[in-house]
């Protein structure tokens, strides 16, 4: 018993104090996966806010975006053109989803829409495998101009190594979020998106068309998914297993709240950093690989205290 307590409360901190450079390295790894979790969660939040749909297919959209890029390149399309075509594919997907799925399900219960996105999820898996094949592929990292080396720093008496691809992932994620923030807050279409998120009827009464907004918001989520897919693909492989990783967005959303963009970002970082720390310092206690379940555990604890999430709106029922 004493040994376990020691292992939980004392040993990890001795390790941290003993090798601060390693601690910084772990923090950085956590920060990078956190950024990617945040991006996936952001895709969920965008769609949930504007249409009240929990898009189960967000994870597969990440895979589908990355696969299309790799697949087009493999078919002989130049990398830059493949990237542009992928943006086009994401737009086509958004348009198709609105046309084929959402339009016919207007005013249905949220659970029906949720089921429809599960259908979409499996359709995209099947369609993706049919076109691109099921085997894992390598992201065309250097071909689309992403750096591959690493920066090495002298930190606190040790060497910390930052992969350049990770640094660019963080920078690109930051730019994407900043761009979306300006778009949402400062433009007419962004305002229309927020209006639809707040009140469908009122939005229609001022002449906003829901269909158009849905296409734009699914497109935005598609772009976010494509970016995530490229970044994640560059760190590991491009395979359908990615869509399971994308489910880590769930604990992120529970932490951050389903309707909050800042929540998705902060939640993503918390999950990313805490899972890496837990894995590295507390994992050995139970034989490792707690990374895969720790985020869900954290989310569960969180649900006890703040069911609406860190930034989510508290739901107050008028009685």
């Amino acid at each position: 018993m004493g040994e376990i307590l020691h292992g939980i409360f004392i040993n990890p901190f001795i390790e941290i104090a003993g090798a601060p450079d390693l601690f910084v390295q772990v923090l950085w790894e956590g920060f990078v996966s956190g950024t990617l979790y945040a991006l996936i969660a952001l895709g969920f939040v965008l769609i949930f806010k504007a249409s009240g749909v929990f898009n189960f297919a967000q994870g597969i959209m990440v895979v589908f975006g990355a696969l299309s890029l790799v697949g087009l390149f493999a078919a002989g399309v130049p990398a830059w053109l493949a990237l542009i075509l992928c943006i086009g594919i994401m737009f086509g997907l958004a348009w198709g989803v609105e046309r084929v799925v959402l339009r016919n399900l207007v005013n249905q219960e949220p659970i029906i829409l949720f089921m429809a996105t599960i259908g979409l999820n499996y359709f995209l898996i099947g369609f993706g495998e049919f076109i691109f094949g099921g085997e894992p592929k390598t992201m065309i990292t250097s071909e689309i101009g992403l750096p591959t080396g690493s920066f090495d720093f002298e930190v606190l008496g040790g060497l910390v190594s930052l992969q350049q691809i990770d640094v660019s992932a963080a920078v690109i994620a930051g730019l994407l979020v900043a761009g979306l923030a300006v778009f949402f807050n400062k433009t007419r279409i962004g305002r229309a998106l927020r209006a639809v998120a707040d009140d469908h009827q009122a939005a229609m009464s001022v002449g906003i068309t829901l269909q158009q907004i849905w296409v734009i918001v699914w497109f935005a989520a598609g772009i976010v998914a494509l970016t995530t897919g490229i970044m994640w693909g560059a760190r590991s492989d491009v395979s359908f297993a990615l869509s399971i990783v994308a489910l880590k967005a769930l604990p992120v959303l529970i932490l951050g709240g389903f309707t909050s963009v800042p929540g998705a970002i902060v939640g993503g970082l918390i999950i990313g950093i805490s899972e890496k720390l837990a894995e590295f310092y507390w994992g050995p206690l139970v034989g490792g690989s707690i990374e895969s379940w720790f985020p869900y555990f954290l989310a569960l604890i969180f649900l006890w205290f703040r069911p609406q999430g860190l930034f989510g709106e508290r739901i107050i029922e008028r009685v």
């Binding site: 761009g179 300006v182 778009f183 400062k186 433009t187 007419r188 279409i189 962004g190 305002r191 229309a192 927020r194 209006a195 998120a197 707040d198 009140d199 009827q201 009122a202 939005a203 229609m204 009464s205 001022v206 002449g207 906003i208 068309t209 734009i216």
Partner: protein, 266 residues
């Protein structure tokens, strides 16, 4: 004399005509064969006891509900039903019985959404908030500031509307409807739940909108004092049927109306 005649002609021009509209939900008839018209430049009240079909009528006019029978002619175009955004495009704006604002957004942004249809730059420019999109934003911002001045809500320009007291929310909602520069403004109980002072303010705004901008207004209201003071003509609905139509004085002395409101032993 001739000038006066033109004026009278203009006042007689029909802006909206509702003919034989019938609306039912499943087995329930919300509106039964109702016809009336709204003349250009007037304030037209729609009154009636609870459940008379007043809000349903507004929803039909603005395209939320699609009637099973009847037709609606607005600015000379006849249609049986239309989508809300088409109604908005043609110049119909409205407010809602239970304030329907975008609660997370500021007063300014809420009223800016009313300009949606007047703004034309496309997604491409918006992605970069650049060039024409920026220019357009500034122009419309100026117009919205004038509405804010008109409604005397300068002090809450940046406040998220969810935090505002009810009376002010109603005023912001009016502002959003006005921002579209509508030909026909539909107000669903603009004074419900207000205290006397707020009601007087709102009445003043309604009259000023009608006077200064020449906007035609159709309003639903329960406060009879307000209705009699504001409106040029009144249509009375009861159980989905029209039971009276005329000037406030005519309606006030109509026996059916008195019965509908007070109840009558049959």
């Amino acid at each position: 004399m001739s000038a006066l005649e033109t004026f009278v002609d203009a006042a007689d021009e029909t802006l909206l005509a509702v003919e034989g509209v019938t609306l039912s939900f499943g087995g329930v008839q919300a509106i039964k064969d109702v016809s009336f018209d709204i003349k250009k430049g007037e304030i037209r009240a729609i009154i009636g006891p609870n459940g008379a079909g007043k809000t349903s009528m507004l929803n039909v006019i603005n395209g939320f509900y699609h009637p099973q029978k009847g037709k609606i002619t607005f600015k000379g175009n006849t249609r049986t039903d239309m989508r809300p955004h088409v109604a908005a495009t043609q110049g119909i704006s409205r407010t809602f019985q239970n304030v329907a604002l975008f609660r997370g957004m500021s007063t300014l942004d809420n009223i800016m959404t009313g300009r949606t249809l007047k703004m034309t730059t496309n997604l491409f420019w918006h992605l970069f908030r650049f060039g024409p999109a920026e220019q357009e934003e500034l122009e419309h911002r100026e117009f919205v500031e004038r509405i804010i001045d008109f409604l005397e809500i300068q002090h809450i320009r940046k406040t998220p509307v969810g935090r505002l007291p009810y009376g002010l929310q109603k005023r912001v909602e009016l502002g959003r409807a006005l921002a579209a520069q509508p030909d026909l403004l539909l107000l669903d109980e603009p004074m419900a739940g207000m205290n006397l002072e707020e009601k007087e303010d709102m009445s003043r705004f309604v009259i000023d909108v009608n006077d200064q901008f020449g906007t035609t207004i159709a309003l639903i209201e329960h406060d009879m004092g307000v209705v009699m003071d504001l409106s040029n003509r009144v249509v009375v609905l009861d159980h989905g049927e029209k039971i009276a139509d005329g000037t406030p004085d005519e309606v006030k002395s109509n026996q059916d109306v008195i019965d509908a409101y007070l109840g009558v032993a049959h």
